[in-house]
Amino acid sequence: MSAHHPDDDHDHSHLDAMTLRVKALETVLTEKGYVDPAALDELIDIYENRVGPKNGARVVARAWSDPAYRARLMENGTEAIRELGYAGRQGEHIVVVENTPGVHNMVVCTLCSCYPWPVLGLPPVWYKSAPYRSRAVNDPRGILAEFGVELPADTEINVWDSTSEMRYLVLPMRPEGTEGWSEEDLAALVTRDAMIGTGLPLSPEEVPA
């Protein structure tokens, strides 16, 4: 950090109010020995760089290609996901809900922003926003339309409001034209939104080269 970096202690003039307030708290907690600054760096690095929807995509791709794994995943999501190495905070209890030709699932937390961190990472701003939290339960079709998802009128929409420590992961339907694909290639079709239920998996034609 250079002497003129905006985060520098001696140059508060450029800093906004939240930057100053958070810095003040972190400094007080650090000086008192209540937090370890290296632990803060580690927490940030984990969620910014190591945990994200790629984990969930691996789970979905495995379920698409291995019927025995799919059965274990539907029976006990937490344990089957742990098999792939994903577990812990905000994923202590995971239930997988499966889309079928007649039923589409969508996940929300109307009360805060509960989200399955070990498989999806931290949620995007829209998931935590008032428009999504307010409307997911009574206007799911309107939200899906805003996300560009059109479902047949007779498809039942099941909305899962995360009101306890159970976390929900949507298992989307495997796209057509993927017979014989490897797990890794399948995982590239699985978007974050497909696992929340506000999106569908990519089709083979949509896969980025």
């Binding site: 003040a24 409307r135 009101t163």
Partner: protein
């Protein structure tokens, strides 16, 4: 607690706006506020339920006009002050003015991965049989407590069907106010859209909530 955080079914918040290529954090202070909040649970000793209660207890105008991590920050400051770990004078000064309390637990960098990996499982051993089974019709409580509850207001006094039995879990409503874990059977309850939203319901659809036995009576 029914305040503006309990948003399900509320009109007027507008359209969902997606941000293209959204970064995980939008400013350095968000990174730090996120990490400070997680790390402060060790010295603070509070539960996730308490920290949720702290956030939803913010004045409604503050809650609605704050960004997500501003809400987190305000919540953790209130919790830290309530435990006597920091003071307003220290926050204003930006430095410690009082000696630290003795015997405080600290999350060390080398323990972060293992601590996250353990998480905080909420399932507890059953001490009584479940009152409800899959397929049972139940009606939810109409209670409107001034403290934390995980029964959203749109689902109060409504009839639903037990969809799944999750086992016995820490009862968030009580744990949030430090009244003990009070483990209770937790159920996934399915509400048909018409039961919740009347003639405006988008059929066919249903909303599923996870509710504890104290929230439910036979319908």
């Amino acid at each position: 607690m029914t305040t503006v955080h309990d948003m399900g079914g509320v009109h007027g918040f507008g359209v969902v706006e997606e941000e293209k290529d959204e970064p995980m954090f939008h400013a350095e202070w968000e990174r730090r506020a996120f990490a400070v909040t997680l790390a402060s649970a060790a010295p603070g000793g509070w539960s996730l339920d308490e920290s949720r209660f702290a956030r939803e207890s913010l004045p409604p105008t503050q809650y609605l006009t704050s960004s997500y991590y501003e809400i987190w920050f305000a919540g953790v400051v209130n919790l830290l002050k309530s435990r006597g770990l920091v003071t307003d004078a220290e926050l204003a000064a930006g430095h410690a003015l009082e000696p630290p309390k003795p015997g405080i637990k600290v999350l060390k960098a080398e323990d972060v991965a293992a601590t996250l990996g353990r998480g905080g499982p909420t399932e507890r051993p059953a001490t009584a049989p479940a009152r409800f089974q899959v397929g049972d019709r139940v009606v939810t409580s109409r209670a409107n407590p001034p403290t934390h509850t995980r029964l959203p207001r749109y689902a109060r006094g409504r009839v639903g069907t037990i969809h799944r039995v999750h086992g016995v879990h820490v009862f968030a409503d009580r744990n949030a106010i430090r009244a003990g874990e009070n483990p209770a059977w937790l159920y996934n309850v399915r509400f048909e859209a018409g039961e919740l939203w009347g003639p405006d319901a988008q059929a066919p659809s249903a909303v599923h909530c996870d509710l504890w036995e104290p929230h439910l009576e036979p319908a």
